[in-house]
């Protein structure tokens, strides 16, 4: 019953290439030397991260206590110099976003989608049961391991509704990535709860079906406005004819603006759409065969991004390659600083004139 004990201390691990990067953390492929086992290590710089230390502490604890096949857990965590090392299982398939970019730019087939989403939903059910809201459900956070197992990752921005003994009505912070963000999270009027994840789940379904999230070609400000003002997106384009009716219905039940009308993860699992879901092996065969290694795919992606940024050109539908790198968290000054430059570029490339700084400042005041 006792968990396998991973060694505590940097000397027991050998870092290989970087496989993920945020503003205050990087993820590396690494070897756990005594076990001769490949792992992933997230290294968080305490000096660079000026957000509350207690958030990092809580995240580390949450990850250690996760015990579910569909949620990425942590083996252990320790401090090395002014960095926190969080040792996690290595998901060699990378994220669904990586796989979309590398081999399926126009989206996956329906059976693959049903299989991935069923696993994600099982993970979400677990996360919600423990009182957490994930707050950043998207293809970039759905990870696949070598055998086709699907796990929901990056608890980085998760919040707990059952925090220290009390059920809290809802949260009131502005966290997530704009394209996947539920309207009530954007509005910040009444706070939000588990149902915000169900909206993001619906957007993720569209992302897997099309290869990118709806509105992803627009700058973040515009995404906010479109999400609040337009009818919810759905599977109703010409190219969506290939998808079944139950898929369209499933997406539509998630993407309802009134959160109370969205189903819980538990309920949604019973939707007929998921009947066609298959096994992990099927995912491994359908998605992973013939793919270059994760490290090589990431190198190629990075190169592509840099080239595009250099040319200041963002072709349609490619926006999320950059915006997926970090969650948009306006409670963190350091992050926003890095993003502002990029957003400026988006605005220029789109020819949209928005004074971001001022508007962002306004939101921030309402958060504080």
């Amino acid at each position: 019953m006792e968990k396998k004990k991973y060694p505590i201390g940097a000397e027991s691990y050998k870092l290989y290439e970087e496989i993920g990067q945020g503003v205050s953390a990087s993820v590396y492929r690494a070897l756990c030397v005594p076990f001769n086992e490949v792992v992933a290590i997230k290294i968080i710089d305490f000096e660079r991260d000026n957000c509350d230390l207690s958030n990092i502490c809580r995240e580390a604890q949450t990850l250690i206590l996760v015990d579910n096949p569909n949620v990425l857990n942590a083996h252990c965590s320790f401090v090395s110099d002014h960095n926190l090392w969080v040792v996690m299982p290595f998901m060699s398939g990378g994220s669904c976003l990586h796989i979309l970019k590398a081999a399926n730019p126009d989206g996956f087939g329906e059976v693959v989608i049903a299989t991935i989403l069923r696993e994600v939903l099982k993970g979400l059910e677990y996360v919600h049961h423990h009182g957490h809201i994930h707050r950043d459900v998207k293809a970039g956070n759905i990870l696949i391991d070598a055998r086709g197992a699907v796990k929901l990752g990056d608890f980085g921005v998760s919040a707990c509704l059952f925090d220290s003994g009390n059920r809290q009505r809802n949260r009131n912070t502005f966290v997530g990535t704009p394209c996947w963000m539920a309207p009530e999270v954007m509005e910040q009027l009444h706070g939000y709860d588990f149902k915000a994840d169900i909206w993001s789940f619906g957007i993720t379904a569209l992302e897997l079906a099309h290869g990118h999230a709806p509105f992803s070609k627009y700058p973040p400000m515009k995404v906010l406005l479109m999400t609040l003002q337009n009818a919810p997106p759905g599977l109703d384009y010409e190219r969506d004819k290939k998808f079944s009716k139950s898929f369209k219905q499933m997406v539509a039940t998630c993407l309802v603006k009134d959160p109370s009308k969205r189903p819980s993860a538990h309920k949604l699992l019973k939707h007929s759409f998921f009947k066609q879901a298959r096994s992990n092996e099927y995912i491994a065969r359908a998605l992973l065969e013939g793919l270059p290694t994760l490290g090589d795919r990431i190198k190629a992606l990075k190169k592509k991004e840099e080239d595009m940024l250099a040319q200041k050109k963002m072709p349609d539908g490619k926006m999320e390659e950059i915006s997926q790198v970090e969650a948009w968290d306006v409670t963190d000054g350091a992050k926003s600083k890095g993003r502002k430059k990029k957003k400026k570029k988006f605005a220029e490339s789109e020819g949209v004139e928005v004074d971001k700084e001022e508007e962002i400042g306004c939101w921030d005041n309402s958060v504080l």
């Binding site: 305490f46 580390a60 604890q61 252990c76 320790f78």
Partner: protein, 350 residues
Amino acid sequence: MKGLFKSKPRTPAETVRLTRELLIYADINSNSREAKREEKMSELSKLIRELKSILYGSSEAEPVSEACSQLTQEFFRENTLRLLIICLPKLNLEARKDATQVVANLQRQQVHSKLIASDYLEANKDLMDILVSGYENTDLALHYGAMLRECIRHQCIARYVLESDHMKKFFDYIQLPNFDIASDASATFKELLTRHKSTVAEFLSKNYEWFFAEYNSKLLQSQNYITKRQAVKLLGDMLLDRANSAVMMRYVSSKDNLVILMTLLKDRSKNIQMEAFHVFKLFAANQNKPADVVCILAANKEKLIRFFRDFTVEKGRKTFFFGSFSVKDEQFEADKAQVVKEITVLEDRT
């Protein structure tokens, strides 16, 4: 029709009673590994989960206060809490997490506007001994730690832990190599030293000598970055609390303490420097500085003034934090100017 074939749902009190029976069973039959035991343990896990959903509600339903209060009364009518704590190592991870949340929630349940958990714990203080020693067991630390933090919300229980020998152990727990456990111990330590103002003030003045000797040597001068950073922060929080003003005066009248803070002011971590400044300023602001404190400040006058000239909040940090940060920055600049002024007037008598 369906309802006819369903067994009548259990009342919350019945759920507690069944849980208690199974806990007693688990407690006695610890070594038998027969199938019957497995079955009972899985039943127990289900019951604990049921208790949790009564107290917290589910993703579809809010908790019902009448049910919560029935559950709480039955829970504390007998020794259920003790059984649950003792049997925790026998539960699986999911059941341990559920049990922890149940215990946490129960500390806040009021029955007839009374916190009955507090009365129970008052009579069963030795349970805290089990919870504190949980930090020595990697598999139990986070669960016992979370329960402990909830229990010390009751002032009488916090006082018990503060006055016990356990306090000394925290200086080691905080530096455990597992970050998740060490940070849990720090959170508890901080709670103990900040939550109940009058109790904390009393504890600090009674235990000043050993407590700050340990605090200075083990925490402020730790090799571990995070221990050091959290310790300076907590020190600032404690000394700046109005309730602890006597302790603060004593602390800032010591030359040795000043030297430690001046070393931290030059730490290579900007965050530690910043936290150290908030304590250092108290030494400078003290209007009754002892001679040896004056002596050190005066001897370093030029260096300190030069240091503070370049000592600023990093520009990048403020950009987004319109509201709170700019106010904080202004406060920081004002504090800094005050400190420089205090130091400038000191005469170097060496």
